[in-house]
Every structure is written in C-alpha cells, then in structure tokens.
Symmetry: C2
Subunit: 154 residues, 2 copies
Amino acid sequence: MSDLGRELSTAVVAFHEAVGAHLGVTAVDQRALALIGRHGPMTAGDLAKRINLTPGAVTGVVDRLERAGLARRHPDPADRRRVLVTAVGGVLGDLFSGLNAAMGELTARYTPEQQQLIADWVTRTVEVLHEQTARLTTRHQPRRNRPPRANDEV
Amino acid sequence: MSDLGRELSTAVVAFHEAVGAHLGVTAVDQRALALIGRHGPMTAGDLAKRINLTPGAVTGVVDRLERAGLARRHPDPADRRRVLVTAVGGVLGDLFSGLNAAMGELTARYTPEQQQLIADWVTRTVEVLHEQTARLTTRHQPRRNRPPRANDEV
DNA sequence: CCTTTTAGTTCAGTGTACTGAAATATCAGG
DNA sequence: CCTGATATTTCAGTACACTGAACTAAAAGG
C-alpha cells in the first residue's frame, strides 16, 4: 500500500512535468497558476509574496503563463498600478480534458457510496500531504547545493 | 471530485518539491531515483537513455543523488568501465517516515474491504496517469520556449 | 500641488543544469 | 599485444530563471 502511494506520487509528478514541458512553463509557474486557480485573481505582488519570489521574477512567471495561454494580465480598475493575474481555463482545460475524461470514466465504475469513500480518503490524504510538506519546509532549512528555491505553500 | 483530483495533484507535487529543495536535488534527479528504485540498480548509461539525458548530464545527476545520500556508485565487477547506480533507502526513508507514518494511521481507519477499494482506485488512477502522460509526451512535441527538457517515462 | 509611498517592469549579473566534445579507462577480437 | 569499440568523466560553452537595483507610473497624504 505504501508502494502504491509512491507510485501514485511519481505518476502525478511525471504528468505535471509533461504538462509543464509541453507548455513551456516551469514548476514554479504551475504552482503560481494553481494558486490563482484556487484563490482567484491575484495581484502580481500578492503572488510574489505567496510563492516567495521577487517582483522581478514574478514578471517572468506571469510572462510565461500568458505566453502559454494559461493566465492573463488584467489592470485593476481601482488602482491602475496594480496588475491582476487571472487564470484562463481554456488551454489548461484542453490539456487536462483527456485526463478528466479518463478519470470520469474511472469514477463512473464505482457506486456513489464507493465514490464517497474514495473522496473521503483523497481529502484526508491531501491534508496529510499538506502537513508533511509544512514539516519539511519549516522545521529543517533546505540544503543549499543549489540556489534557494521557491518552495512555500501552494 | 475533479477538483479533489486537482488538489491531490498539487499537494503531491508540492511535497515532492519540498523534498527536492530540502535535499538539494532536482526534479530530474528524483525521477532518476524513482527509476532505479523501481527497476533496481542500473548503469549510468542506461539511466541516460531512460531519462533522455546525455552521459555528461547523468554524471551530474548521480553526483547530486550521491551527495544527498540517496544513491551510491558501485563499480560493476563484471565490467569495470561501468558504474552501477543503486538507491540508498536510509535517507529517503527518514524523510518519508513522517509521511509513511501519517498515511499508515490514515489507512488504519478504514476496514480491509475499504482499503482494498482504495487500493484498487489508486492502481487504476496510476494507469490513467501513465496513459495521459504518454499522450502528452509522444503525440505533441513540447513547445520550446526553453531548452528541451528531460520528460520521458518514469 | 508636491512629496512620499507603492506596484510593476526592465535590466545587468549570477548560479546552475544542460549539451557536445575531448579525455580516460576498460573490454573484446584478431 | 594492438586496435577499435564502449562506458564514464571532465570540461567549455550555452540557456535560463532568479536576485537586486534602477526605472516608470500611479496613488495617497499633507
């Protein structure tokens, strides 16, 4: 069972990497996208704080996301200095459509009760992962062979 | 439910990134490690073919894995030109111990039948992910804003 | 208004992982 | 042995994402 978890983990990571390579965006870019996907439109500055990057770096992140058609810059009508970054569903949806369809087929094979059970397990697993990720990022400080990486919450 | 999948996905990726940052290894390094973890000890050349990297790059990969204590170089007794790269369980085990413990607790909450159901779902999900990853990496060629990345099977 | 603060982009410099080629060491065959 | 093939490392060059600082633009507050 713990082997299965490892397999799931690597499969998920491999898929994410494939998506990133396909679209020409980095892992950090994808984290930023997930962030605005979850929290809604966000200013570049907020994004910088969230993913622990300098404003200059965020410009690059958003550039790549825009070029890939995954996000768009939107001037804030209330404050014209600010730039709101919004996620664009279309392209990513296209890419994930195959996955979503296949997963839909898969879930359809289970009864509602079973689906409920699986959803429950997934929810708790996500919680565990968040806890363990936090444990890694806060308790120990990273080993610095390489430059400091953006590895905060997502 | 598809939202849940997305959340699980990002949580998994975040954890992996945290581990990588903590140990000073890249995502590619981790893929290489997963590879030798699954297929057993492997020569540097095989590793190069598998992850689609030049031999020179593989030297760097193995260097980092060794430095992190995740792998070890082992001369092939049969052919002293070759270098067998073997995974070392200890360090990674320590890192994942928290996760494994937490996941163990989590699974213990379910009945054996329920565990079986979950395992079944996970297995099928892994299959789906592999298919979809293959679809991305083979059918379409990557968009090349950036240099070609190592994104093959894992 | 005029100054100060804030938001974002631009730009030069840096670190790192990659490629491709040269170098080194070992095997295999006449 | 000696030659040619094979496995890995070393090394120079390159690409890229990041930092930190300068710059532009807009808000805020006397």
